[in-house]
Amino acid sequence: MKKMYVLIGNYGSGKTELALNFAIKAAERGERTELLDLDMVNTYFRLTERGKMTRMKEIRLVSPNFACSGIETLSVPAEVASAFAMDWDTVVFDVGGDPTGANALGRYYQDFMALEEGALEVLNVVNTRRPLAGTVEKIVKLQQDMERYSRLKITGMINNTNLSTATSEADLRDGYEIIKQVSIETGKPVLYTSGKKEFLDKFLAEGHDPKYIGTPIAIDTYMQRDWDSWIDGLQ
């Protein structure tokens, strides 16, 4: 059965990095994989910049029209239809941040509804270290708004709490506590917890309730840049 993952979430929650991880892991399992860059909001640090890498992994990448990193007006290409029409094992949608970004999904409502039951996972990627997703109330509100804008029901959450280069297991733990509350309040399950392997392992060893962890995913970082290793040095 075709499995379709739609990654939505607060701006800066790590959707693009996770989308690449989902797609690469699927491709490495030998699955026919399509990855769609549906980010209509952001013009920097886009999935499309990793086009060559995805091709090498035999992942089909669908980018916005004329997309390269330098384009200002983005539009959804007709090619998105291939996600629904063609015979893939795994399809991953990387969607723009916030309700505004999730808006781009609304146009495919009928296509999503026509999928087999159980084929679609709409995942809310949560990073509680982002100021606008830092509390239970904020996450619940974002979740409701994203559902309204995308015309899709969120099927579960991903705890992807991180501080970029300053991440530790404490971030996953703090995210776990907040997301657990969101899950209790909204009934949305926590389907995945993701992070770099070293922090994920430490977090898992702490013995939290597996119900609010879901499947752990050790992620690799593909969106790393030349300037990321720099340590702040203001005298």
Binding site: G12, G70, D226, W227, S229, D232, L234, Q235
Partner: protein, 357 residues
Amino acid sequence: MALTLMKGSEAIAEAAIRNGARFFFGYPITPQTEIPEYMSARMPEIGGCYLQAESEVSAINMVYGAASTGARVITSSSSPGVSLKQEGISYCAGARLPCVILNVMRGGPGLGSIQASQGDYFQAVKGGGNGDYHLLTYAPASIQEAINIFSFAFDKAEKYRIPVLFLADGIMCQMMEPVEMPEMIDFKIDPEAKPWATTGFKPGDDPAKRAIINSLFINTEELTEHNNLLQATYREIEANEVMYETYLTEDADIVITAFGTVARIAKSAVNELRAQGIKAGLFRPITVWPFPYKELAEVTKNAKAVLDVEANEGQMLQDVKLAINGVLPVDYFGHCGSLMPTTAEIVAKVLEMKEGI
């Protein structure tokens, strides 16, 4: 206080607010539109004023107006928008108005591209608008550094009565980094501390003490006197406000000069070169006006060569050459099409230079 993961735009906007900015006037332009977007939501929450002007020309003149009252005011734009603001910036400099202006540089000339660039260095430090003036210009290389600079940017602007310019590139505003935010300061306009500001003229007040904000001096003697005062202020700033960072320069044979995001890449290159046994170091101006001429000359006195790396045609290169004053060979590497130099390219360039030393 806990670290949060913030986008440069959001963090810069919040840092300005926490340091007393209560007026934002601007116009959207990529890659800094998230600053006005953030301000539009945040200013009403704290009793401030966000106003999207009909153009950058209006926005900078609104800055002139708000700054005249002694309030803390900020505007932001990107390269083409900052070009439009130049007339107003020159007026602010002429009228000695403290304010903060952000230029989040993108590719140029003209509309260029929306990707990051450092092509406005000349505009920032060699003029921009008309007349003999300078802006106290900071080129932060991380989001935290931008936040930290904000903790004194308004103070410096007010101390010297000068517009402060933040010269950042698109990456600085678009990337996300873990940051720590300062507490909100309690800023109030103090008419005693700012006798020059138009804080209100009451019946019975001495007309001679009426505050007049002006950059027009028809009488040439008066204009000369006014300009002498400006120049004296600039000399004071040059003497006191230079900021820079050095990294592994003590024993460096080759010192790389770079600012902003490019300096971060250069730092990675230095690490890689050191790992190969090559003595490379980095000199990073944090103030690009005043430029750390003396400091760069001092730092490079035992070096064999200097490599300037920029995301432009080599604009800061001219200041680097002035600092080195012909004592050492100064080479340049960079791109001027919004393409960031890479660590590998810088390493390759240094290895090539090493052959010639």
